[in-house]
Amino acid sequence: MRSALLLTAAAASFTLVAAGGQAQAQSVTGTVQVNGTVANRCLFVTDNVVLDLGELSLQTGDVAAIGRLDQAKLTSRTATLNGWCNGVSATMAVEAQPIFNTSFTATAPTGFERRIDYTATASAAPASGSVSASDTTVTSGGGSASTTGIFASDIVVSFADAATPAGGRLISGSYSGSVAVTLAPAT
């Protein structure tokens, strides 16, 4: 009888151990980091515009002025590019090249000109306000870059300060110049 009691007590203790184990249910948690990058980038949507200035010399008016540069032919014109930059450090710079007579490449006779200088200004429109960059053809090299930051807009190129070096009459022929607008994603 005593033996039977001891065995029953032993069985009961097994049951208690098992019940204690069930309280240890556990779950697991996981974390996954999803990462990506977007590189600094600028892109022209419209990267090339031809601006035909037409006749460059004055055709009427003061006889002394006829044949000389008609400044309004350049200063009244604009050309519109379109582009964007996605970085906060993006910049825009302009380098303008003089307009030269490409038909007559020899040294111009006294009183005549084959070169037209000007100042070109490019203006972009970030949300924070218009940003411009300029360059004059009077001095070589490009103008200073301006920080545009993030933008997507037209880039309007306008012209000013049109002049020939000595105010002479323009030699006939075809004239050509260029304005390069550079968008740089980061400095």
Binding site: V28, T29, G30, W84
Partner: protein
């Protein structure tokens, strides 16, 4: 002499008979019991109760500045990125809880018109099951993040390597939006309970 022997014999018999009348048996029973607590344990990708990993998506934009079409067109079958873990659970229908944040520019910055610094996507957990099928638990991010997806698996997790695959796919932004330059990050959170 004979008498003496007989008496002695009778006495011995008497002694022998008396104990035989009190004989009794005992029966003992031992119940051996045990239990296995419901549990999930990380085998690969972490230890104990936690696991972690990463899904590097790389460059998110295509040449024109908008979201990569490879990423926007990615699916569960062909995700933008994925990573695997092994978790062993000993229950019949483990419960999975899944949520995620949006894939966002870090540090954050306000986006000008036409740009975005936030990408929504689908985070999914593909669980390989013991019956050789796969159950997908998914969560789609949005400007107002929905509640976490909670789903019980239809059967036990497969007892195999890489039985959990976490995926990121179907990335999306506003139509035509240009992605702001920088680093983007999101966190997918997963809890697996033995249930």
């Amino acid at each position: 002499m004979n008498k003496t022997i007989l008496i002695g014999a009778a006495a011995l018999l008497g002694l022998a008979i008396a104990p035989a009348a009190m004989a009794q048996t005992v029966t003992g029973t031992v119940n051996v019991t045990g239990s296995v607590a419901a549990k999930c344990v990380v085998i690969t990708g972490g230890s104990g109760g936690t696991f972690s990993g990463s899904i590097p998506l790389g460059e998110l934009a295509q040449a024109d500045g908008t979201l990569s079409t490879t990423l926007s067109g990615s699916t569960n079958a062909s995700p933008g990125g994925s990573t695997q873990f092994r978790v062993n659970c000993n229950s019949a229908a483990p419960k999975v809880t899944l949520s995620s944040t949006r894939l966002a520019l870090t540090p954050s910055a306000s986006a000008p018109t036409g740009y975005t610094g936030v990408i929504d996507y689908t985070a999914a957990l593909d669980a390989a099951l013991a019956n050789s099928t796969t159950q997908t638990v998914s969560y789609v991010t949005a400007a107002a993040l929905p509640a976490a997806t909670v789903q019980n698996l239809s059967t036990s997790l497969a007892n195999s390597a890489g039985n959990l695959t976490v995926k990121a796919y179907a990335l999306n932004t506003a139509s035509g939006a240009l992605l702001m330059a920088g680093n983007y990050a999101s966190t997918i959170s997963i809890t697996i309970e033995p249930s």
